[in-house]
Amino acid sequence: MEILLIVLFILMIAGAIYALEAKDLLSAVVSYGIVGFGLVICFLLLQAPDLAIVQIVVETITLIIMIAVVLNTTREEIKDKVPQSMIVYAVLGLIFMFGFIYFFILSLNGLSEFGKHATRMATEYIQGGVKGSGSINLVTGVVLDYRGYDTLGEITILFTAVIGVLTVLRSRGRKKE
């Protein structure tokens, strides 16, 4: 299974890189979809159906909205001027990349084995979750009972985002130019 996951990750990274480099914005959006739908298969392989359902529907709706935006505005990328000192940027990028990889490897040594990571709180939830929250689906029990504040924050973020979009795109009640 780990080999399958690694193949999926390579495919997702390739899709993300193509989305960055594509000249046509519509093909960039479509290849960005590879990342989301690859993530769905990863969640299914890792036995997380709750996350997979949310990811697949949210990915589809965002793709629809992004394609609508691209079709209604422009399909060409804005051309920036190439900066003069490319070498400085490249050297800085390489330094930061190796720094991050070094600390990543350092922190990997402190983790437990793949798939066997369970903290003290997680064990508590798994053993007493059904009795404590009363719902068979443990994920919903944790999300809405033990971690209710997180869910309140999530839907507040969505609410605020919609208010922001409505305010920016509003044309009613605005003075005529």
Binding site: P49, D50, I53, V54, V57, V58, T60, I61, I64, I65, A68, V69, N72, V130, K131, S133, G134, S135, I136, N137, V139, T140, G141, V143, L144, D145, G148, Y149, T151, L152, E154, I155, T156, L158, F159, A161, V162, V165, L166, L169, S171, R172
Partner: protein, 153 residues
Amino acid sequence: MKGMTIIVKKVTQIIAGVIFLYGLYITIQGHLSPGGGFAGGTIIAGSFILLVLAFGNDVLGLVKKEIRSSFIEALGIFLFILTASGAIILSFYLNYDKIFFKNFLTKGVPGEIVSAGFIPLLNIFIGMEVAAALFTLFLAFVIKSEEKEEKKK
């Protein structure tokens, strides 16, 4: 916004109701099977977006839809907070602890459709909020592009 061809319209008539029912199922069964308010709400929003894309509408109708859906969105988040603080409100009349997010309803038998206290209620309110929010986002973009086209004419 113009609608699509007769084939798309006919297929949408058949499918949209099924998608809506599936979203309701995922929302209501959130405490029994994988799913919940977020996934179910997004599926419900998808069925409405499908209807708007297939049949189209004029700007006035879209604005009317947007006003209603933003009202439902605000209602959803208000009911969520009201249910979450239910124990605090009821503690003035009954003998409850004053705790935010306390599961003040009886838990029932785990595995039945009416069980787990207020978790199904919260799932339904999250579903309302998410469905209305995504539909409002979509309508805002559509209305913006429609108004731009009307100005060109």
